[in-house]
Structures are given as structure tokens and as C-alpha cells.
């Protein structure tokens, strides 16, 4: 079954939904595909206090619910499913979702980023059994217990602070001596006496996969090499994200870290393909910058289609 479209948007975080809102209002009839992690990273947060317009903050999932409803109100079509392959070598582009295929003249990529893991074998084995990347989902199961949060950025501070609601003690493990997190998030965490600071430390081992649960972590101080075993029952990993770009490998220009390279706003190396949000941003990575770049991609896409209709130079189809 083949479906022909003017515009497909992949991704349903702030970038994708803002692009959908703007292109729906421009009558481009966008089809937005939302995957398994629909709503993006904000679905895993609690109170968002830095999205302008909400002076008392808004819960991440509520904010995403509002954005989704707003895009739908103006006619954006939202479909659930995971894109399994794309072909950007010639127009119309092909988007494959299992047995279904969609053809589209333009594509906006807003696939975002997913949590990065430390890379220990035990980490995967114990995921969901004491190892977690989602404090709001799993913190509840660690009432009165000791846990660790790994990372030194805003998400690590937020998770550590949030997890003190449940845990008796939170060990904050960070490989450097200073934190990357914003001042306000650091101050909140530093003021919390349930947080034990394990700076200049890395986790060498998470025990014990054989038991199917977390029983301790083995820390190594990167300055003096000292090793410490800390008995605890949970490890929350908050060491950043990696862009979700495996679908586009060898088809779009990317940097060494796999972020899609954009030029002149949201344009990628393939005319007619635009990228917005965390998938192309390794600097700012905020809900508001993602939303802003979603708006840029929508306007760039709209102008591209207008130029195409008028036969202007930007619209020359790629020869293959």
C-alpha cells in the first residue's frame, strides 16, 4: 500500500509538533509519525519550569499533550508507528513503516535524541531491574533505599533531587570535579542533604547481573585511583543523549557524533529534507529551542514547496 504526501514529519517532541502546527496552518496537510517514544524526552520529566508562558511551570507530559492537541486542531494528521527505513536518494522520498510505504515530496526530521548509557554489560542486563534512565517512571520503586544517579548536567541534578523524595540516600556519581548543570539546578541539589557527592568518580561495575538485581556499584576515583564499593539497589543513568539518526546513515551529512548537519536554517544536505530539534542540535537541547527550530523547519519547508511550484532554482529535483 502506498500513500502520497506533500509533507511527512517524523517525530513528535516539541520540534515535530511545532513543525506540524505551523505547516498545518499553512495548509500543507502534514502527516506526523510518532514512534514508540511519542512526545519525546519531556514525557519522562516532571515539572518544566523554563518553558515561557507557564509561570508556575507545567508538567512535561501535559505540555506535550497541549502541543499535540494544538497541532491536531489545525488539521495535522498524526499516525502511530515506527519508521523502519527511509530512502532519500530520489524524489519523492520513501518512508517505510513495516509493510506500509509512504511517498512524500518533503520531509521534516524531528526524531530527537535518546538516553545514552554508560556502556557496561551489566547495565543492559539490569535495565528495568534496578538500572533506569527514567527517574519519574521508576523512582517510586526505591522507597527508603539507597540509589545512585550518574551524570553532571541538568537532567542528573533534576533526577537526583526528584529521587530524594523516595530514596533514603542518592549518590551523585560524576566523572569530573565540577558540574555542567545550570546554577539553579546545582544549588537545589547541593542544598539537599540526602545527596552524597561522588565527584571525580566513574562506575567500573554494576553488581549483580547473576542475581538479576542491583546490589552495589564499584566506583573508581579518576584522580587517585581509589576504588569504593557502594551497596545500593538502583542506578539512574543521566549522562546525556545521542541523536536518533540511524535511519539516515549514509543519506544525510552528519557530524562525528551522528547529529544531522543543517545549513541556512533547517536545510539538510538533501534539498526537501529539513531537520529540527535535538537531532541536529548538540548545543542547546531545550524544549523551547526544539520548538523554535521546528517552526524554522516548517517555514523553510513551506518556502521550498512554493519555490518548487514556481519552478525556481531551489526546487531543482536531485538527479540520480
Amino acid at each position: 500500500m502506498s500513500d502520497s504526501r506533500q509533507l511527512v514529519i517524523i517525530g513528535s517532541g516539541p520540534a515535530g509538533l511545532t513543525a506540524a502546527l505551523y505547516t498545518a496552518r499553512a495548509n500543507l496537510n502534514p502527516l506526523l509519525i510518532e514512534g514508540l517514544e511519542a512526545g519525546g524526552q519531556l514525557m519522562l520529566t516532571t515539572l518544566v519550569e523554563n518553558f515561557p508562558g507557564f509561570r508556575d511551570g507545567i508538567m512535561g507530559p501535559d505540555l506535550m499533550g497541549e502541543m499535540r492537541a494544538q497541532a491536531e486542531r489545525f488539521g495535522a494528521e498524526i499516525r502511530q508507528g515506527d519508521v523502519t527505513a527511509v530512502d532519500l536518494r530520489k524524489e519523492p522520498f520513501r518512508i517505510v513503516m513495516g509493510s506500509e510505504e509512504i511517498r512524500t515530496r518533503t520531509l521534516i526530521i524531528a526524531t530527537g535524541a535518546s538516553a545514552r548509557l554508560i556502556g557496561l554489560p551489566a547495565e543492559r542486563a539490569l535495565m528495568g531491574h534496578g538500572v533506569s534512565t527514567c527517574a519519574t517512571c521508576d523512582g517510586y520503586f526505591f522507597k527508603g533505599q539507597e540509589i545512585a544517579v550518574v551524570g553532571g548536567g541538568d537532567s542528573a541534578m533534576e533526577e537526583a533531587t526528584f529521587l530524594t523524595r523516595f530514596a533514603s540516600k542518592v549518590h551523585l556519581v560524576h566523572r569530573r570535579g565540577d558540574l555542567r548543570a545550570s546554577k539553579i539546578m546545582q544549588e537545589r541539589a547541593l542544598a539537599n542533604d540526602k545527596i552524597v557527592w561522588r565527584l571525580n568518580n566513574v562506575i567500573d561495575e554494576i553488581r549483580d547481573p547473576a542475581q538479576g538485581q542491583v546490589s552495589s556499584i564499584l566506583l573508581r576515583n579518576v584522580v587517585d585511583g581509589e576504588r569504593t564499593e557502594v551497596p545500593l539497589s538502583g542506578v539512574f543513568v543521566a549522562i546525556g543523549h545521542r541523536p536518533n539518526t540511524s535511519l539516515f546513515t549514509d543519506q544525510l551529512e552528519m557530524d562525528a557524533h551522528g547529529y544531522i548537519l543543517t545549513h541556512d536554517g533547517s536545510r539538510t544536505s538533501v534539498p526537501g529534507v529539513f531537520a529540527c530539534g535535538d537531532v541536529q542540535d548538540r548545543v542547546y537541547r531545550q524544549a523551547i529551542t526544539a520548538a523554535g527550530s521546528g517552526c524554522m523547519a516548517a517555514i523553510d519547508c513551506e518556502r521550498y514547496l512554493e519555490a518548487l511550484a514556481q519552478g525556481l532554482p531551489e526546487a531543482v529535483p536531485i538527479e540520480n
Partner: protein
Amino acid sequence: MAAEQVQTFSDANFSQQVLQASSPVLVDFWAEWCAPCKRLGPTVDALAAEYQGKVVVGKMNVDENPSTPEKYAIRGIPTLLLFKGGEVVESVVGLQQKDDLKKILDRHV
């Protein structure tokens, strides 16, 4: 529609409705504050309809029922456990595609 086929399990009825059931039982552990759980909800509803008569499908709210999740050492939600003859035969943590869950259920029906 599908939601009508989905059972509600609790600490109180778990033994009778899950452990002593004659057919396999899929239990979805969830909570109101868990966004991925809400995302998985409709998939579980659909499975309940598709496997009607073959697999009993139900949900357990972990806030209201703390003992059962503790007994099965649940450390994250959503978690799906498949019970057969009172024993856990499958355990899946996190969001899943419906087709992947069907493959798991098909091994036991």
C-alpha cells in the same frame, strides 16, 4: 470496547485471578504518573481483545497495590509479566511494539 475485556487486578484478587487461573494471564503493572505506561495502555487493550478466550489480560495499579509489585521485584514500569500455572513465564520491561508482544504471547498459547 477493548477496555471491557481488560481485568483489573489487585493485591486482594491476584492469587485467585492470576495465580490460580486456568489460562495464561498477562499483567500490566502501571501507574497514573508513568507516561510510558499510559502510552502502552491502548496496546494492552488491543491485546486483550485479540487474545480473548486465549489469554486473560489485566492491569495492576502499583500505587494502589504495593505488595504484588514488591513480591515480583518490579523496579520499573511499565512491566508486563505473563503468568502460566501460577509462575512467571515471560517478563518485559518498558515500552514495546504490539507485534513484539504478540510474538511473546504466541509462544504460550
